[in-house]
């Protein structure tokens, strides 16, 4: 059996990749995918812990996270479409009508 530490290490790597992509990437859709990657890394951690502890709560949590991620995707894509219609661009660098 794969020890829990291996799965957790994978989860940390995926989460780190997602977080790094969130900061580095310039395309809104890609950034959005990076966020999804972070959420899935968390799901993996939950399932690993759940299996390790022999407790179903973690897997139940994962179901809720998946539902929320789906709702978030719906909401996020709607906002992305609104931005695209107003600006004809999906680069985060062009979202600069308000000063920093």
């Amino acid at each position: 059996m794969v020890p829990v530490s291996h799965v957790l290490a994978l989860s940390v790597i995926l989460f780190g990749l997602g977080a790094a992509g969130f900061i580095v990437r310039r395309n809104i859709i890609t950034i959005f995918m990076c966020i999804e990657l972070m959420l899935n890394a968390v799901n993996l951690a939950f399932i690993a812990f759940s299996r390790y502890l022999g407790d179903p709560d973690g897997q139940i949590f994962v179901f809720f996270v998946i539902v929320v991620a789906a709702a978030e995707a719906a909401m996020g894509l709607a906002i992305i479409i609104a931005v695209q219609r107003n600006r004809q661009t999906l680069s985060i660098d062009d979202l600069d009508s308000m000063k920093l």
């Binding site: 969130f22 812990f49 949590f61 609104a82 009508s97």
Partner: protein
């Protein structure tokens, strides 16, 4: 716990939320039946009725006539104690005031749709569960319900570039912070084997001090929560979201979600992570000082009034976090201070926004500080009201803002954090300076235009409510202090 089904009382305990959710759905249906554009205010009336019903139910809970207090329901995942009821009432009243100031504004923006009010109510439902949840799953779902509604409301003016942009930034950073928060939750679950905060506290107490895993869980969890309350270094979304959002929504996200986010922060820190208080106290000290510094200094140079209030909110969050530091030393006054500060902050900020929102009229956007110029000659009553709200925000007696700051400083001094208290007082002086920039514009400058202000009955009522509370809490704070003390008692009885 276990296999027993839910009790009847469990469902009684969530009636306010159920009422609000049903009214939200009802508005979505009724909206189709309203054909005339000028009748759209009926949606606002419906929302107000729902909020009033929820509030009455909350009052009955507070008196303890419906359920024994504190009531723990749904297998311990939800707890209805004085803390939850205090924050839920605050959220309901704040939402009601926002509904009052919205109708006229949305008419002018030509965005008066029923979904607006439905989303406000759904968001309120999420926030209420944030105050009463005691399980990581419930807290997470509640937080996301609030946040998702907020994103949509921020981008509610679909054709407006700034509104889109604000929604986009708010959404991306909000989702990122949810990821951090969730990661902390997963680690916490792995450490304790439970999603219940009470169990988590027990298990964390058994872990050795300085354990790296629990430290990592706490840090990621706190990073996610600090995002939601807009504390430095996780504040970047605040000014943009505030500037781009419809003004009524700026008013909303500056108060109600702040109260709810503080409720969830306090619940997690005081109930779940209490054994690690020395660790999170250190983090909070750093974040609080950074938040006060950045909020206060950045507010000085702002020219856009909504952005200005974004930074002003950040500085208030800094003061609120100071209360948490005193609470970590076991001083209940620290939490009392947070509860009372949030109460007065909600009303003085909503009052100020009720004045600002009147500047949006005909073809004028009216969100620059200069738009308030010469308000004294145009509408002396409004200028005086705004002056009172600004004095309160700056913390000058006899307004409510002074009471909030007073308790924060008192709790810091009682726990011997003299340096922090001095820093906080010094920043209060800076705050006085930038709030008085607006006063100078209102009283000393000449009006830029002669377009009449956009007044309405709802706005007058909202101004009346916020003004009354701002003054009453300032002059006669006794009952409100008792409420706040009662509200935080659940955390200091164990």
């Amino acid at each position: 716990m276990g296999t027993t089904f839910f009790q009847r009382a469990d469902y009684v305990a969530i009636t306010p939320e159920v009422v609000l959710a049903l009214f939200g759905l009802g508005i979505l249906l009724i909206d189709f039946l309203i054909e005339e554009k000028r009748d759209k205010y009926l949606n606002a009336v419906t929302a107000l009725i729902g909020l009033a019903m929820a509030f009455v139910q909350l009052l009955r809970f507070w008196r303890g006539t419906l359920l024994p207090m504190p009531y723990s329901g749904f297998g311990g995942t939800l707890v209805l104690d004085s803390f939850a009821i205090y924050f839920q009432s605050l959220i309901v009243v704040a939402t009601a005031v926002v509904v009052l100031i919205s109708a006229k504004y949305l008419e002018i923006e030509e965005a008066h749709f029923g979904e607006y009010y439905a989303l406000l109510l759904f968001s309120a439902v999420g926030m209420m569960f944030m105050a009463s949840g005691r399980d990581l799953i419930v807290l997470f779902i509640a937080l996301e319900l609030m946040a998702l509604c907020e994103y949509v409301l921020t981008g509610f003016l679909r054709g407006d570039r700034r509104s889109n942009e604000a929604a986009m930034k708010f959404f991306l950073l909000g989702a990122f912070s949810s990821g951090l928060l969730l990661y902390g939750m997963s680690l916490l679950y792995g450490l304790s084997g439970s999603t219940n905060l009470a169990v988590i506290a027990e298990r964390l107490a058994d872990r050795p001090a300085g354990d790296p895993l629990s430290w990592m869980a706490m840090t990621t969890l706190l990073a996610g929560l600090f995002f939601k309350v807009a504390a430095v270094p996780f504040h970047q979304w605040t000014p943009d979201a505030y500037e781009g959002a419809p003004t009524s929504i700026t008013a909303f996200i500056s108060v109600a979600p702040k109260a709810a986010s503080f409720a969830i922060l306090l619940r997690i820190l005081m109930a779940g992570l209490w054994p690690m208080r020395e660790d999170w106290k250190l983090l909070t000290i750093g974040v609080a000082v950074a938040t006060m510094t950045l909020g206060n200094l950045a507010a000085i140079t702002q020219t856009n009034i909504k952005r200005f209030f974004g930074y002003s909110t950040i500085s208030h969050v800094g003061y609120l976090l100071l209360g948490l530091i005193a609470a970590a030393d076991g001083n209940p006054e620290g939490l009392t201070a947070i509860a009372i500060y949030l109460l007065v902050y909600t009303f003085m900020n909503l009052g100020a926004f009720a004045v600002i929102i009147m500047m949006r009229r005909q073809n004028l956007i009216g969100d620059e500080i200069d738009d308030l110029s010469g308000l004294m000659t145009r509408a002396p009553g409004l200028a005086i009201l705004m002056l009172i709200f600004l004095l309160s925000l700056a913390g000058i007696p006899p307004t409510a803002g002074f009471i909030g700051k007073y308790f924060i400083f008192l709790s810091l001094i009682q726990t011997q954090h003299y340096v922090l208290a001095v820093v906080a007082v010094l920043y209060a002086v800076v705050a006085l300076y930038y709030y008085f920039r607006i006063v100078v514009a209102m009283f000393m400058k000449n009006p830029l235009d002669s377009v009449p202000l956009a007044t309405s009955t709802g706005l007058s009522v909202a101004l009346g409510v916020t003004l009354t509370l701002t003054l009453v809490v300032g002059v006669y704070p006794q009952p409100f202090i008792l409420f706040a003390r009662e509200a935080v008692r659940p955390f200091f009885s164990f």
